[in-house]
C-alpha cells in the first residue's frame, strides 16, 4: 500500500501538516508494528489512531479512562462526519448497550472504558471482531508509577491476549521511564517501536513567584491578569476559589472572565467553553476539569493559583498554552500556606477509615450487592459518604481481583491507599523542588522525565533571566458581556436565523 500521508491528512482531516511525532507514529502503526508513543500535550494524540483507522481493515478499539474525554472524542469524530463511532461506558442504558453490542462490527471506532471490559458480554462481543488496532489511551494509568494509576488497567494485558494479540498502540503525554517500561511489560509486548518525544514546549516560558500568604498572591494575580496579554487560563484546585476569583476579577472591571468547573450544569459548561474558544471570553478561572479535549490555539498564558499535585499534571495544564507555536507564558504562584490544601487534596482522593467501615457495613447488610457493585453506586456513595473519585478508586480496587473475604479486601486496600498517599507525597515534593529550584526551571522539569538539554536563553524561565515584558499587551474587549452595547433582541434573533 503506497499512499501519500500528507495528501490523505489534507483530504480527510483538513490539516496541512503533521505535528511533531504524528507522522512517525502513524507510519509505525501502518507498518504493522506495536507502537509505544509519548507525545507532548497539544500534539493531537487521537490523530495517531484515527488516521491509520481509515487505512486499515477492521475496527479500532480505544481504551480510554476518562469518560468526559471519551465523549469529547466521539463527538469530534461525529462532527467530522464519521458515523461509525460508539462509546461503551457507564453512560449507556442497558438497552443502548445491548443495541451497540449487537452490531459492533458495523463501527469503525469503538471507545470503551476499562471497567466495561470486565463484563463478559462486552468482552465476548469484542472477541468476535478482528480489530485492526488496539489503542490504550492515557497508558500511564497502567503503571503504579504513573500519577493516575488505575488498578483495572492492569488487566489490559490479559484482555489484549483474549482479543488475539491485535496490533497495539499505547499513547501518553507524560510518562517517566519506569512508567514506559511498565506499559510495555503489562501489555506483554514482545517487539515494539518507541516514539518518545520531549515533553518540552520551548515556546512556553516558565516562571514561579513565591508569596508569604494567600492575600499577597491574590493581589499579584489581579496585577498579572491586568497587564498580561490574553487569552489566558487560571487554574485553581478548588471550585469555590475559581468562582470567587472570577467574581473578584469582574468586580475589578475585567471584561470577559468566567469560572469553569465540574460543579456547573452541563449547558453552562458548554457555553463558557465555546465562548472562550470563539473569543467572547478572554480569561477562564478553572479547575483541572477545564482544558481536556479543548482545541484552542492561541492561549497566551496559563497561571496556576494553586499548583497541581505532580509535575505530569503541571506539564499537561501549561501545555494548553501556545499551541499555535507563538510565545506564551506559564506562571506558578505559590505560598507556603498552600501546603495544607495540597495535603488535603491527596487525603480526599481516598476513602478514610470511617468511610471504609460504612462501605463494608453496607456490603454485609446487602450481601447481594457484592456481586454487582456498580449497580449500587448511588446507594453505596450515599451510605458511605463517598465522593465520585473515592467511589471510583474503591470500586476499581474491589473489582481488580478476587478477594477471598472482606477482611482481606480491607487489609489490601488499606495498604494500597497508604502506598498511594506516600507516592503522591513524593510527587508533591518534586513539585516543590520545581518551585524552589535555583537553576533553570526547564532543566529541572526535563530532568524529572530523564531528559537533558534545555534551551537556555532569556525566554526560557525566570531563572534564565526572562522578564514579563514580552507578554504584556492590551486585551480586546469582548462584545456585550460588558455593558457597552445595548442588546436588541430582534436584530440578534435575525442575525442568528436569517441570511444577511
Amino acid at each position: 500500500m503506497k499512499i501519500n500521508l500528507e495528501e490523505f491528512l489534507q483530504k480527510k482531516f483538513q490539516f496541512a501538516n503533521f505535528r511533531p511525532g504524528q507522522k512517525e507514529v502513524i507510519s509505525s502503526v501502518l507498518a504493522g508494528v506495536h507502537t509505544v508513543a509519548m507525545l507532548p500535550t497539544g500534539t493531537g494524540k487521537s490523530l495517531c489512531y484515527q488516521f491509520p483507522g481509515y487505512l486499515l481493515e477492521g475496527q479500532v478499539i480505544v481504551v480510554s479512562p476518562l469518560l468526559s474525554l471519551m465523549q469529547d472524542q466521539v463527538e469530534q469524530l461525529k462532527i467530522m462526519g464519521e458515523k461509525r463511532v460508539c462509546a461503551i461506558n457507564s453512560f449507556l442504558t442497558p438497552r443502548e448497550k445491548y443495541a451497540v453490542l449487537s452490531r459492533l462490527d458495523r463501527y469503525k471506532f469503538i471507545y470503551v472504558s476499562p471497567e466495561m471490559l470486565h463484563g463478559e458480554r462486552v468482552l465476548n462481543s469484542l472477541k468476535k471482531l478482528s480489530p485492526a488496532l488496539f489503542v490504550v489511551d492515557e497508558a500511564h494509568c497502567i503503571s503504579q508509577w504513573g500519577y493516575d494509576f488505575r488498578p483495572e488497567y492492569m488487566k489490559l494485558g490479559r484482555i489484549r491476549k483474549e482479543l488475539g494479540n491485535p496490533l497495539t498502540l499505547t499513547l501518553t503525554a507524560t510518562a517517566t521511564r519506569p512508567v514506559i517500561d511498565d506499559i510495555i511489560c503489562s501489555l506483554h509486548l514482545e517487539e515494539w517501536q518507541e516514539y518518545i518525544y520531549s515533553v518540552d514546549r520551548p515556546n512556553i516560558s516558565l516562571a514561579v513567584e513565591i508569596f508569604n500568604d494567600g492575600n499577597e498572591k491574590l493581589k499579584r494575580l489581579f496585577e498579572l491578569t491586568h497587564f498580561l496579554r490574553g487569552p489566558g487560563i487560571i487554574y485553581f484546585s478548588s471550585k469555590k476559589m475559581a468562582e470567587e476569583t472570577a467574581v473578584a476579577l469582574k468586580d475589578r472591571g475585567m471584561d470577559g472572565v468566567e469560572a469553569y468547573h465540574a460543579g456547573m450544569d452541563q449547558e453552562s459548561r458548554v457555553l463558557i467553553q465555546q465562548q472562550f474558544i470563539k473569543g467572547q471570553l478572554q480569561c477562564i478561572c478553572a479547575t483541572s476539569a477545564f482544558g481536556m479535549g479543548i482545541n484552542k490555539d492561541n492561549v497566551r498564558y496559563v497561571i496556576h493559583f494553586h499548583m497541581p499535585l505532580q509535575p505530569e499534571s503541571y506539564l499537561q495544564e501549561i501545555g494548553r498554552a501556545g499551541r499555535d507555536g507563538d510565545e506564551s507564558i506559564a506562571i506558578l504562584l505559590y505560598s507556603p500556606g498552600d501546603d495544607a490544601l495540597l495535603d488535603q487534596l491527596i487525603q480526599s482522593e481516598y476513602p478514610d477509615k470511617e468511610q471504609l467501615d460504612a462501605f463494608i457495613q453496607f456490603l454485609m447488610q446487602n450481601p447481594g450487592a457484592a456481586a454487582d457493585l456498580r449497580s449500587y453506586g448511588q446507594e453505596i456513595c450515599q451510605a458511605a459518604g463517598l465522593t465520585e473519585t473515592q467511589w471510583r478508586v474503591t470500586g476499581d480496587f474491589y473489582e481488580s481481583r478476587d478477594f477471598p473475604n472482606l477482611d482481606r479486601f480491607i487489609a489490601e486496600f488499606t495498604l494500597f491507599i497508604d502506598n498511594r498517599k506516600q507516592f503522591k507525597q513524593e510527587k508533591l515534593k518534586q513539585m516543590k523542588a520545581y518551585v524552589y529550584s535555583k537553576n533553570c526551571r526547564r532543566e529541572r522539569l526535563l530532568e524529572y522525565f530523564a531528559e537533558k538539554g534545555a534551551i537556555k536563553n532569556n525566554r526560557c524561565c525566570d531563572l534564565c533571566g526572562m522578564t514579563l515584558e514580552p507578554f504584556i499587551g492590551n486585551n480586546v474587549p469582548s462584545n456585550f458581556h460588558g455593558k457597552t452595547t445595548v442588546f436588541d433582541w430582534r436584530s440578534h434573533l435575525a442575525a442568528i436565523l436569517l441570511e444577511s
Partner: protein, 354 residues
Amino acid sequence: MTKQPFLNKIILYCLYKLNGDRTVSSVFHLLNGKKSSQTLQDIRLFGLSSFFKTFEPVSRPVLDIAVETLAESGLIEEISSLHYTVTEQGREEAGKLFSDFPFLTLLNGWKYQNTEVFWEKLSLLVQVASNLVHGVTSYVPVQKNADIQKWIKDFLRRQAFNRRKLGVVLYNELEAALASCRYVHPSVVTIRLTGSDFVGLTLKQAAKVLEMEETLYHYQFLALLHHLLGTAGRNPREFPVLTEISGGFDRKFSLTNSTRITMNLLAKGLSLDEIAYVRGLKISTIRDHVVELALNVDGFDISPYMDKKTEQAIISAAKRASSKQLKQIRSLVEHADYFQIRLVMAKYGDELFS
C-alpha cells in the same frame, strides 16, 4: 424584603399557601418537582401547581438559608420544628405577589413539566438552523443529551421545507410568540440562544447583562418559555415548529439502577420475597423499589399486591381523610397496610386530590 432574592418571595408564598400544615421539606420537594405522592397531594390541595418543578437546582442549604432570612425579617414564624406559619406582615407581602409580579401568571409548572426538554430542543434547533443558514458544517452542539440530538435529527428529516427555510420559519414564529408576551421582555430568552457566530449566554451572564437578580431572572425565563408553550398550544397552525418542539417527549423515567434490577426481576415473575432473597436485600428495600416504580412508570400494575376492593377502599379513604398523612388514611382502612396505601397513593396521586 427588597434585598432578598426573588426566590424568597416564592418560598414565602408557598409557606403562606401551605398554612403551617406542612414542613419546609414540602416546599423543597415542590420546587424540585419531586414526584412523590405527598408532593402531588400538596400541590392539588393547596393550589400550588404553578410552582411545581420551577426551581430544580434549589438545594436544601439554599432553602434553609432562605427560610432563616424570612424568619429574621419577621415574615414567618417557626411553630414547631420545620413547621412555619406566616405572620401578618408576611401574609400582606405574600398576598400581593401576583400583582407585584404579574409575569407569574404565565407560570404553570405542573402543566409544563417538560420545560427543560423544550428549552434543550429549542436552543439546539436554533443553533442547527443558524448553522444551516450560514453554511457552517462543523460546530459543537450546545446540548449534549443524545435523546435531544436524535430528536432534532428526526425532526429535520421529517421537515418538508428546505433546510435554509427553517431559519426563516423559526425566526417568524419566535419573533411573533416572543413579541406577544406582555409581561416578560423577549431579551430574556433571546440572549441565551446560540448561533453560528455567537455563543449564547449562561443564566448567570444573562441575569448580569439584563441587570436582574438571578432567581428573578430564572423565573422570568421560565415564565417566558411557558408563554411560548401556551401560545403554540393555543395556535398550533400559526406555530407549527414550536408546536412540534413542545410535543410529547418521553424522558426516560429516572430510576435508580437498583430499582431497575428489581423491575427486571419482577418482569420475570419473581415475588417480592424471592427478589429480596435473590438479591440479598431487605424486603423493605424491595418494597421501596416497587413504590418508586408505581410513581414513575405509567400504567404500573399494582394488582399483585392487593385486590380491587382494597384498592377502592384506600382510594375512598384517601379522599375522605382530613389530613393527607398516611397515618390518617390508614385509620380509615384498617385492613390495608402501609405498603398498599403507599402504592395506591403513588399510582393515583395525580387524580386522587383534584
